[in-house]
Amino acid sequence: MSKEPVAVVGIGQTKHAAARRDVSLAGLVREAAVRALEDAGLSWADTDAVVVGKAPDFFEGVMMPELYLADALGAVGKPVLRVHTAGSVGGSTALVAADLVAARVHRTVLAVAFEKQSESNAMWGLSLPVPFQQPLLAGAGGFFAPHVRAYMRRSGAPAAVGSLVAYKDRRNALKNPWAHLHEHGLTLERVQSSPMLWDPVRYSETCPSSDGACAMVLTDRTGAARAPHPPAWVHGGAMRSEPTLFAGKDFVSPRAGRDCAAEVYRQAGVTDPRREIDAAELYVPFSWYEPMWLENLGFAAEGEGWKLTASGATELDGELPVNPSGGVLSTNPIGASGLIRFAEAALQVRGRAGEHQVDGARKALGHAYGGGAQFFSMWVVGHEPPTT
C-alpha cells in the first residue's frame, strides 16, 4: 500500500505583532489563509477540508473557535478538524493535514493555526489557579529556567551561549518581514546586559507574546503539478508524546523528542542529520533551548550542542542554519508558532524565504514541542518529491 506524496504549495502568514487591534479573530486567520491560497494559486472553493490548530481556548475566550470560524474559513459544506496538542499544536496541525492527503481522503487541505493573545493575557491563560495545588511560584520562565541550569551543569556550557542564540535569532528576524520583533541596532552587549529575570535566563533570551496566524495549503501530486510555484515535499512527519511528570523524565533531552526525530529521519531516509539537513526551524522559546534541541535532535552529541551554537554553525550563513526566520524568540503566537516552524522549513526548500533564504536549501526540518516538554511534532521537507 502506498501513500500519496504530499506537497506544500501555499504558505501565508500575518504580520505578527503584540496586538493586532485592526482585525477580528476571523480577520487575523483570513489574512494568513488568503496569502496561502494566493501563493498556491487557488481559491476558497479549491480546498476540500480545513484543519485548525491553536493552543488553549481560554486565550481568546472562545470555546472551539473553529465552529464560529467555519464560514470565514470557506469551510461551509466541508470537514473541519480542530487539533490541540499544547505548544506543538501548530506542527500537529500540518501533520494531520498532510495525513489527510497522504491517506487520499482529501486532495487539497488548508491548515491554519493562530493565537490572538491580546484578547486576553498569556499569563492568565496559562496559569489559571487550580485549587489545592501550590501556585506556580515563578511564572512561565521559572518553569523552564531550572532545566536550562540542569543543561548547563550537564554540558559545562558557558553562560554566554544563550545570548548568542538570542542575538542571532533577532538579527535573522530583521530579514523576515512577518516577524513580530524587529530590533534594529541590537548589539550582543545589549542582549547580555538585559535583566536577569529567572537566573540563568535573561529577558532578552525569552520569547515575546504575539498575535498572529499561519496557513498552509497541502495537496497531492496532481495539485503540485498545477502549482504556480515550486512545492515543498513532505519526506517524513511524526508526533511523539510522553507524560508530563514521571520518574525518569529527562527535561533536558526528553525521550519523546529523540524518538520523534529518529522516526522522522527514518521516514525521510536521513542518516546524518547534521550533514543532510540544510536548515532547521526549531521551537526555541528560550534561547538555551537551541543547544538543548541540537542534541535532542541528533545534530550534536550529548553535551556538545552549545559548541555548535558557539561556533557560529547555526547562523544564517553557517553550516546548519537554525531559525533563519528569527524563530519563536522573535515571533510567538503560541498556537501558530509550530505551524510557522513547519512553514518556514517549507519556504526554505521552496526557495521562497526571501531575505532569510538559506542558499541551496534542499532538505529542512520543522520542529515543535509543547506541554511540559512532552509533546513533539516534526517534519522533514525537501525540494524534490520523496523517492520512497
Binding site: 501513500k3 479573530l25 472553493a45 479549491d46 480546498t47 476540500d48 493552543a55 488553549p56 481556548d57 481560554f58 481568546e60 475566550g61 472562545v62 470555546m63 472551539m64 465552529l67 464560529y68 467555519a70 464560514d71 469551510a75 461551509v76 459544506g77 466541508k78 470537514p79 473541519v80 478538524l81 480542530r82 487539533v83 490541540h84 496538542t85 499544547a86 500537529s92 494531520v96 495525513d99 497522504a102 491517506a103 487520499r104 481522503v105 482529501h106 486532495r107 487539497t108 496559562l126 489559571l128 487550580v130 495539485g223 511524526a238 508526533m239 511523539r240 508524546s241 507524560p243 508530563t244 514521571f246 525518569g248 525521550r255 519523546a256 524518538d259 506541554g371 511540559g372 512532552q374 509533546f375
Partner: protein, 357 residues
C-alpha cells in the same frame, strides 16, 4: 449544501479499518470524587483488554476533550497519565468530541503508519454550568454576549420544527419516553422543550480500539468495519441556517455511503428529542431502523464522549451480531452545526475474509 471544492470527490480508501473494541463508563450524573484520569483509567483498560493490547501498545493514540468543559487549560495533558505513554507514543488530541479523534485515527491507519489505534474521550460536564459554558462556542461579537444557553438554542430549533409541521410536543414526548422510563415529559425548561426532551447530562469516558485488516480479525471475532466516514460543517449563525434541516448531516452521510444500502441500526448524537427529528429526516431513517437502541445521547450525554459512544455502541451491536450494517452519527456546535456520519458493517456468513469490501 454544495460538496466542497472541485477536487472534493471522495477517493477510495486503500485499507479496511474496523472498530474492534469499545468501552464506556456508566456514571449517572457526576463522577463523584474522581479526577478525569481516575474516571478514564478503567475504561481504557476495558477497551484495551478486549483488543488484547497492553497500555501504550497501540500504534497511535488520539483523544477528544475540551478545556472549557473542564475549566482548565491543557486539561488533556493530565489524562495522558492513564495511557501508559512510556516509551513515548505517537499521539494526538482534538479539542472536540472523541468522534473526531476517531476520524483522525482512522486517517492515520489509512496512511499505513499505524495498524492499531486507541481512541478515547472524556468529559466532566458536572464541573461547570454546561448550559452557560457552551455559550462560549458562539460568535464572540454578536451572540456570546447575550449568553444564549444550549437548551434555549435547541428550543428555537424545536419551535421551527413545530412551525414547519415536522413534529409537535406530543410527538416529542413519545421520543422522550422511549428510553423505557414512563416519566412524564415534565415542566418546560425552555418552551417548547420540556425536561424530558433534554439530555441526561452526565460525566463519562469512552474508549475504542481501531485496527486494520487482518489485525482487526485477530482482535475481534466480528469486527465492525468502517465502510465510510465523513464529517461536514455549516455556518454557525442560527439566522443563516434552516434549522429544520441538517444539510451537513446529509452530505456527510452521502460521502460515507450511508444511502447505498439500508442500515438496520442508527446511533444518533441527538441530545434533544427535537434534534432526533431533524436527523431522522436528513438520514432518511424509517421505522425499520432501530434508532438509538443504546438509549442514545438523550439517555446519557457525557459531553465530548457522547459522539464517540455512538460509534462504539453501533460497533458493539455489530460485534455481538445484533446488527449487520449500522450508521453512527456525532455532532458538535449549536443546533447540529457540525456532523459526522460513519457506516459500519459486520461480515455476514458466506463472505470470505479476503472480500470484506
Amino acid at each position: 449544501m454544495k460538496p466542497g471544492g472541485a477536487g472534493g470527490a471522495r477517493r477510495t480508501a486503500p485499507r479496511d479499518v474496523a472498530i474492534v473494541a469499545f468501552a464506556r463508563s456508566d456514571h449517572r450524573g457526576a463522577a463523584e470524587g474522581l479526577s478525569e484520569t481516575e474516571m478514564l483509567l478503567p475504561v481504557l483498560h476495558a477497551a484495551l483488554e478486549q483488543a488484547g493490547l497492553a497500555p501504550g501498545e497501540a500504534d497511535f493514540t488520539c483523544s477528544g476533550s475540551s478545556d472549557y468543559l473542564a475549566g482548565r487549560p491543557f486539561s488533556f495533558t493530565q489524562t495522558l497519565d492513564g495511557v501508559g505513554a512510556w516509551p513515548p507514543v505517537a499521539e494526538s488530541h482534538v479539542e472536540a468530541d472523541g468522534a473526531w479523534a476517531l476520524f483522525e485515527a482512522w486517517v492515520k491507519i489509512l496512511t499505513g503508519r499505524a495498524d492499531t489505534a486507541l481512541v478515547y474521550a472524556h468529559g466532566k460536564p458536572s464541573a461547570g454550568p454546561l448550559r452557560d459554558v457552551l455559550t462560549r462556542q458562539l460568535d464572540p461579537y454578536y451572540v456570546a454576549p447575550l449568553w444564549p444557553d444550549s437548551v434555549s438554542l435547541a428550543a428555537l430549533q424545536a419551535q421551527a420544527l413545530i412551525d414547519a409541521g415536522h413534529t409537535d410536543e406530543e410527538a416529542l414526548a413519545v421520543l422522550a419516553r422511549r428510553g423505557g422510563d414512563d416519566a412524564p415529559a415534565g415542566e418546560y425548561v425552555v418552551r417548547p422543550l420540556r425536561a424530558g426532551d433534554c439530555p441526561a447530562v452526565t460525566d463519562g469516558a469512552a474508549a475504542v480500539v481501531l485496527a486494520a485488516a487482518d489485525t482487526a480479525r485477530r482482535m475481534c471475532a466480528r469486527p465492525a468495519w468502517i465502510r465510510g466516514i465523513d464529517h461536514r460543517i455549516e455556518a454557525q449563525a442560527l439566522g443563516l441556517r434552516d434549522l429544520t434541516d441538517s444539510p451537513s448531516t446529509r452530505l456527510a452521510a452521502e460521502r460515507a455511503g450511508a444511502f447505498r444500502a439500508p442500515v438496520d441500526t442508527a446511533e444518533l448524537h441527538a441530545p434533544f428529542t427535537s434534534q432526533e427529528v431533524v436527523l431522522r429526516r436528513a438520514l432518511r431513517l424509517d421505522d425499520t431502523v432501530a434508532v438509538n437502541p443504546s438509549g442514545g445521547a438523550h439517555a446519557a450525554d457525557p459531553v465530548m464522549a457522547t459522539g464517540l459512544i455512538r460509534l462504539g455502541e453501533a460497533a458493539a451491536r455489530i460485534h455481538r451480531g445484533a446488527s449487520d450494517r449500522a450508521l453512527a452519527h456525532a455532532t458538535s456546535g449549536p443546533c447540529l452545526q457540525h456532523n459526522l456520519v460513519a457506516v459500519l458493517e459486520g461480515e455476514t456468513e458466506g463472505e470470505t475474509k479476503g472480500e470484506a469490501r
